[in-house]
C-alpha cells in the first residue's frame, strides 16, 4: 500500500518506525504520529459513524477540537478508554484502537438506516416522540436508542491504573505554548517570579509546528522554537509541562490541569501514575490558547475527506502526510490560501478554490496564478458525492443570493475554512465578560473577572507578528517574514439547490445537528440560544461545540432576524476537554476513598471475628458471630447473655465534649432542655438538645465532675455538628459566658459493661471508688483508677441492666478491654456490637436520635416532656415548642407496636394504616422506625411514629408489607422491665 507521506516534510521520526492496530488491522507509523496522522498516511479517512444517523465520518481537524474521529483506546482489561480523539492520541509501538458506534462494522452499519429515515429524527425528536406511554420508556424506547445511538461503551473493568495529584503555585501561569505563549513565557521568566508554561500537546509550538516556512527575527520558525525552548529550560524559575491540558479555570486564579503521563508509553511496568491532576494557584494567568478554524455549513459537509484547511496544513507540515491527491478548497477567508499554496508547493494537485466572496486580493490572485490554481469567486459548494470518501463536489455560482448554475468538480479531499473562533473557553470559565467582534464573527475576551490577560489568537489578535508581540506584552518587537492573516466574511448559511428541507448541512458533527434542526427549533419558538442548544443538542457533545457553537449561533441569529449579540452565547463549563474520572479521583479510591475512623479496640474486634458496619465515619463492630452463627443467632445469644450475666461493648465512638469554666453550668442550661444548675457534682443526667426550631437534635448522658466541669457525651454521628453548634452559640450569641469547650471524642476509650454481673467484674480492678449501691447509685459518675489507670467511671445503662461506662485514656482502651474480657470468662462474658445494643435499648424504649427521630420530632412527640426544664426561662429551641404547628393536634408520636403474630418482624420504614379495607392510595398514618426480634421477650417488637399515637394505645393498626398486610397493637414504648428494677441489682 502506498503511503501518503512527503519524505521531506514533517517532524515525525522516520528513524523510529512503529506498528499499531486499528479495528484489528496492523498499520505502520512513525514515532511522533498521532493516530489520525498515521491512519491518514495509509489513506484511511473513514474512522467512525455519526451519533444519530450513523453516517460515515472522517477526520475534520488535527487537534483537540476534532468532533468525529472518536476511538476506543484499548490497552487491555482495566485500561480501555472510549471516546478518545484520534487526533490527540499519540501512536506508540503496539497501540490498539477501535472505531465506535458501528455494528457490525464501519463499512456496513445497521444503524445507517437512521439516515434514510431522517425525517423521524428532527430537532427535539426525543422530547416530542418518546413521551407516551410512560411504560414504553424503560422497555422499548430506551434500549432501542441505547443500542442505535451513543458513543463508545463505558469500560466495565476496574481501572488498573493509578492516578496522582499535586498542588502548584506560581507567579505567572501561561496556558498554551504556541507563538504567543512562548513569547509570553520568555518575557515573564526574565523577571524573578515562578513561571509555569503548559500545553496540551506532546511538544510545544502550537501553530508554529504547522508553519515551518515562517521566519521569526531572521530565524526559521522551527529553529526559533528550539532556541526559545532551550532558553526557557535553562531558566530556573520556569516549569514546562507538555501533555498537560488545563481543564478548568476557577476562582482566584485556581486552575486544574491534567498531565497525561503513560498513555503514550509502550511499557507500563514502571508503575508511574497514568495521569496527574495539578491544582495550580497562579498570581497572574496568561491565556494563549489560540483559535479554532470554523467549518462551513453546506450540504453533505460531513463526508469523509471534507476537513478544515488548517488540519490539512498540520498533517502536511507537522506529520508529512498528504490528505488527498486532488484537493479542493472552499473558503470565505484569506487564511486558507496559505494552506492551499503550501499543498501546491508540495506537488499536490489542486482541484480548485471555491471562494464565497465576490473578490479576493490581488496578492492572492497573483500567488494562485503562479501555482496555476483556479479561484472561483462568488461560488459555493452546494454538495458532495462519494460513498466513504468524497469523490467530487458540486460548485454553484451565486447571484443575488440564488444559485444560477451548478457543476461537478472531481476531488478526493475538500478543505473548508469558515473563519476563526478564538478559544475563549478558559476565559469564560473564569467568568470574564465577552464582546462581539463583527469582523471576526466571534466573541473575544472583554472584562476579566480574575487577574488574567489573553494574548494572541484567543484574544482576537491574528497574524504571527502581532500575536508574538502581544504575547511578549510589548517587551519585545518580533519581526516575521510573512503570515499576514488577511480577512474574511462570515456567511453563516448558503442558498441551496432544490428543497431546503431535504438538505443535510451539519453544524454539530458529533451530535448530528444540522442547519435545518436549528431553524426548526427557532420556528418552534425557542429564541434563546440556551434553549436552542438544549432542544437541538447542538454544542452538547463531548467537544462542547468547539467547532460548531459560532455557526449554530449565527444560524439562529439569522433565523430570528437579530444581531448575534442579542441571541447570546452558550456558557462554557469545565472541563475544557473530556477528562478521566481517574484524574479527578486521584489516589482517593478504594481504601483511601474516605477516612475510616477506628476505635482503640477495633483490632481486638477484628481478631475476634466481628462483622463491622459503618456509623458516620467510624467502623463499628455490629455483632460477634461464633461457630457459623448468622446475625440473628449471634444477636439473640449476645442479648440473652447480657441480660442474664454480662456483655461488653465498645462505646468509644460516642462524641465527648469537655465543658469547663465558671459559667459551664449556665452554658449547659442554655444548650440543653434539662435543668443543670442544681445537678450535684458526681451525678449524671440524660441531656436532650434541640435545634432552635424545637426539633430534637441530639442526646446523651452528661456527667458533672465538678462545680465548673461537665463531661458531655453526644451521639456518634452527631458529635461534629453538636460541637459546632455549641461553639457557634458560645462564640457568637453568648460571648459573655466564661466557658471553654474541647472535643475529647478520641481522647477516651469507652467500655460499656452491662448485665447483672457488671459490678462483680470490675470491683477487683477499681481503686478509689466505692462501687456500692448506696455510694455509687445509678446515674452517678466518679473519678478513680481501674487497673491502675485513671478513669471516669459512669454508672449508666443503655440496656436497662446494671451498667457501667468506663472511660480511660484512649491508648489504654485495648489493654483494659482484654483484661476485663479474660476476667469476665467466669461470667460467660460476651462481646456485643451495635445490633445487640439496638435491640437492648429498643426493649427499653430508648430512642436513637436519627433513627426514631428525623429532624421534625419534638420532645413531646417522643414522650420526653419530662426532659424539659419547665421552670427555665430560656434554652435553645424553647420558644419554638410553643409554635402553633408544634402545639397542633395530629402530630406523629412515638409508640410501641406488638404484631398479632409475634414471629413477624416488621420492616423498618414500613407505613402504617388504620384500615386495611380502604382503596389504594391508602391513608398513611405513620411509619415503623425501629423493629427487631427480641430474644428476651421471645417475640418481635417495634417502635413507630404514628399520628396521635399516644391516644391510640391498645388499638390496632395495620402494616402493609410485600405480599401481606400485618396487624399490630399499639403499646407503650417500654417492652421490658417497665419499672427499671434490673438497674439496681445488688
Amino acid at each position: 500500500m502506498t503511503l501518503h507521506r512527503k519524505p521531506e516534510y514533517g517532524r515525525v521520526n522516520r528513524g523510529k518506525p512503529i506498528n499499531f492496530s486499528f479495528d484489528g488491522k496492523i498499520y505502520s507509523a512513525f514515532d511522533g504520529d498521532s493516530l489520525a496522522s498515521a491512519l491518514l498516511a495509509h489513506g484511511v479517512h473513514l474512522v467512525g459513524r455519526s451519533f444519530k444517523y450513523h453516517r460515515p465520518r472522517g477526520f475534520v481537524a488535527a487537534g483537540p477540537e476534532e468532533p468525529n474521529a472518536l476511538v476506543t483506546f484499548d490497552r487491555g482489561p482495566g485500561r480501555v478508554t472510549p471516546n478518545v480523539r484520534a487526533t490527540t492520541l499519540e501512536v506508540f509501538d503496539g497501540l490498539v484502537a477501535h472505531s465506535q458506534n458501528n455494528w457490525p462494522s464501519l463499512t456496513f452499519d445497521m444503524g445507517a438506516v437512521n439516515d434514510l429515515f431522517y425525517m423521524l429524527f428532527p430537532a427535539g425528536f426525543y422530547n416530542k416522540t418518546f413521551m407516551w406511554p410512560k411504560s414504553f420508556w424503560d422497555r422499548v424506547y430506551e434500549p432501542a436508542i441505547r443500542k442505535m445511538a451513543g458513543l463508545g461503551p463505558a469500560p466495565i473493568d476496574e481501572d488498573a491504573d493509578i492516578y496522582a495529584s499535586q498542588y502548584m503555585h506560581c507567579e505567572t501561569l501561561i496556558v498554551g505554548a504556541g507563538p504567543a505563549g512562548i513569547a509570553a513565557a520568555l518575557a515573564a521568566s526574565e523577571k524573578p517570579g515562578r513561571v509555569i508554561l503548559v500545553d496540551e500537546q506532546y511538544e510545544f509550538g502550537g501553530s508554529l509546528l504547522s508553519t515551518p516556512n515562517m521566519v521569526i527575527n531572521d530565524i526559521p520558525a522551527w529553529q526559533w522554537l528550539e532556541d526559545s525552548l532551550a532558553i526557557l529550560k535553562a531558566r530556573e524559575n520556569v516549569t514546562l509541562l507538555t501533555r498537560t491540558t488545563v481543564i478548568g479555570y476557577y476562582h482566584e486564579n485556581f486552575l486544574g490541569a491534567v498531565e497525561r503521563i503513560t498513555d503514550h508509553e509502550k511499557d507500563l511496568s514502571s508503575h508511574k501514575p497514568r495521569e496527574r491532576l495539578y491544582k495550580i494557584r497562579a498570581g497572574e494567568v496568561v491565556l494563549a490558547t489560540g483559535a479554532i478554524e470554523r467549518p462551513l455549513v453546506f450540504q453533505s459537509n460531513d463526508r469523509p475527506g471534507v476537513m478544515l484547511a488548517s488540519a490539512a496544513h498540520t498533517y502536511l507540515n507537522r506529520y508529512g502526510v498528504v490528505v488527498g491527491e486532488k484537493i479542493a478548497l472552499f473558503t470565505c477567508h484569506d487564511s486558507a490560501y496559505e494552506v492551499i499554496f503550501d499543498l501546491a508547493d508540495a506537488g499536490i494537485s489542486i482541484a480548485g478554490v471555491i471562494d464565497v466572496r465576490d473578490q479576493v486580493s490581488e496578492t492572492i490572485i497573483a500567488a494562485a496564478k503562479a501555482r496555476n490554481i483556479e479561484i472561483l469567486t462568488g461560488t459555493i459548494v452546494s454538495g458532495t458525492s462519494g460513498k466513504f470518501r468524497v469523490s467530487s463536489l458540486r460548485a454553484s455560482k451565486i447571484e443575488d443570493g440564488k444559485i444560477t448554475s451548478t457543476w461537478e468538480i472531481a476531488c478526493d479531499c475538500l478543505l473548508m475554512c469558515g473563519g476563526w473562533t478564538p478559544s475563549i473557553h478558559l476565559f469564560s470559565h473564569s467568568k470574564g465578560s465577552l464582546k462581539w467582534r463583527e469582523d471576526l464573527g466571534a466573541y473575544i475576551p472583554d472584562n476579566p473577572n480574575e487577574n488574567v490577560i489573553s494574548v494572541g489568537a484567543c484574544n482576537g489578535t491574528f497574524g504571527l507578528r502581532k500575536i508574538m508581540t502581544e504575547g511578549a506584552g510589548g517587551s519585545t518587537e518580533y519581526q516575521v517574514n510573512a503570515g499576514a492573516f488577511g480577512s474574511g466574511i462570515i456567511p453563516a448559511t448558503f442558498p441551496t439547490e432544490g428543497d431546503p428541507a431535504k438538505v443535510k448541512a451539519f453544524v454539530d458533527f458529533q451530535n448530528d445537528v444540522t442547519e435545518k434542526d436549528i431553524n426548526l427549533a427557532v420556528r418552534e419558538g425557542l429564541k434563546s440560544i440556551e434553549h436552542v442548544k438544549r432542544y437541538t443538542t447542538t454544542g452538547m457533545a463531548t467537544d462542547q461545540g468547539k467547532t460548531s457553537n459560532l455557526n449554530a449561533l449565527q444560524i439562529a441569529a439569522k433565523a430570528v432576524y437579530k444581531p448575534v449579540q442579542q441571541v447570546g452565547l452558550t456558557t462554557f463549563r469545565p472541563p475544557y476537554t473530556p477528562t478521566t474520572f481517574g484524574a479527578l479521583v486521584g489516589g482517593k479510591d478504594g481504601h483511601s476513598f474516605h477516612v475510616i475512623r477506628k476505635t482503640p479496640m477495633d483490632g481486638w474486634a477484628e481478631d475476634h471475628g466481628a462483622v463491622f458496619e459503618p456509623v458516620a465515619l467510624w467502623r463499628r463492630a455490629r455483632y460477634f458471630p461464633r461457630d457459623g452463627e448468622d446475625m440473628l443467632a449471634a444477636v439473640n445469644r449476645e442479648c440473652l447473655t447480657t441480660r442474664c450475666s454480662l456483655g461488653i461493648f465498645d462505646a468509644s465512638t460516642l462524641g465527648k465534649v469537655e465543658v469547663i469554666g465558671p459559667d459551664a453550668a449556665e452554658f449547659m442550661n442554655r444548650m440543653y432542655t434539662n435543668p443543670w444548675l442544681k445537678l450535684k457534682p458526681g451525678s449524671c443526667r440524660y441531656g436532650l438538645m434541640l435545634g432552635e426550631d424545637g426539633y430534637i437534635m441530639d442526646d446523651g448522658v452528661i456527667g458533672r465532675l465538678a462545680e465548673n466541669h461537665f463531661h458531655v457525651t453526644t451521639t456518634t454521628g452527631g458529635a461534629p455538628r453538636v460541637f459546632r453548634m455549641m461553639e457557634d452559640y458560645r462564640q457568637t450569641e453568648w460571648p459573655e459566658l466564661d466557658v471553654w469547650l474541647t472535643s475529647t471524642t478520641e481522647q477516651w476509650a469507652v467500655i460499656a459493661l452491662n448485665g447483672p454481673n457488671a459490678r462483680k467484674l470490675i470491683e477487683p480492678f477499681v481503686e478509689g471508688i466505692d462501687l456500692s449501691e448506696e455510694k455509687f447509685p445509678h446515674m452517678a459518675v466518679r473519678e478513680g483508677r481501674i487497673c491502675g489507670v485513671e478513669t471516669r467511671l459512669f454508672r449508666v445503662s443503655f440496656s436497662g441492666e446494671l451498667g457501667f461506662e468506663i472511660n480511660v485514656p484512649a491508648h489504654y482502651g485495648r489493654a483494659l478491654w482484654e483484661t476485663l474480657f479474660i476476667a469476665g470468662q467466669k461470667y460467660d462474658i460476651t462481646p456485643y456490637g451495635t445490633e445487640t445494643m439496638h435491640v437492648l435499648r429498643a426493649e427499653k424504649g430508648f430512642i436513637i436520635v436519627g433513627q426514631d427521630t428525623d429532624g421534625t420530632v419534638t420532645p413531646m412527640d417522643v414522650g420526653m416532656s419530662w426532659a424539659i426544664g419547665k421552670k427555665k426561662k430560656d434554652f435553645v429551641g424553647k420558644r419554638s415548642l410553643s409554635r402553633p404547628d408544634i402545639m397542633a393536634e395530629g402530630r406523629k408520636q412515638l409508640v410501641g407496636l406488638l404484631t398479632d403474630d409475634p414471629n413477624i418482624v416488621l420492616e423498618e420504614g414500613a407505613q402504617l394504616i388504620a384500615n386495611p379495607e380502604q382503596s389504594i392510595p391508602m391513608d398513611m398514618i405513620g411509619h415503623v422506625t425501629s423493629s427487631y426480634w427480641s430474644a428476651t421477650l421471645n417475640r418481635s417488637i417495634a417502635l413507630a411514629m404514628v399520628k396521635n399515637g399516644h391516644a391510640l394505645t391498645e388499638s390496632n393498626v395495620y402494616i402493609p408489607m410485600p405480599g401481606k398486610i400485618y396487624k399490630a397493637q399499639v403499646s407503650k414504648c417500654v417492652f421490658y422491665d417497665p419499672n427499671g428494677e434490673r438497674l439496681n441489682v445488688i
Binding site: Y250, E727, E733, R883
Partner: protein, 94 residues
Amino acid sequence: MLLIKCPYCQEDRPEIEFSYSGEAHIARPLNPDDLSDEEWAEYLFIRSNRRGLHHERWLHAHGCARFFNALRDTVSDKFELTYKMGEPKAQVKK
C-alpha cells in the same frame, strides 16, 4: 476555589478550610418568650437571600475554629471583606 482571609488568623487561606454558617447579623432575641409567633418565625426562618453583596457568617473550621463575618458577592462568589464577630456590620458601598 476561593481564597478567604480569616480575620483572626490574618491570612488568606483556601476555601476548603472554611465552612459556611448562614446569614450574618441575625442576633438571637434576648427574650424569645416575649416574641409573637410571627416575630419568632421571622427570626427563625426568614433570610434575605440577596443577589449581590451579602453578609454571611463563616467558620474557619480547619484552622482557628472561630466564626467570623463576611461581606460576599453572591453573583461573583467573591469576598469583599471579612471581619471579627462583634465588629459593626460592614457597610455596602453603592
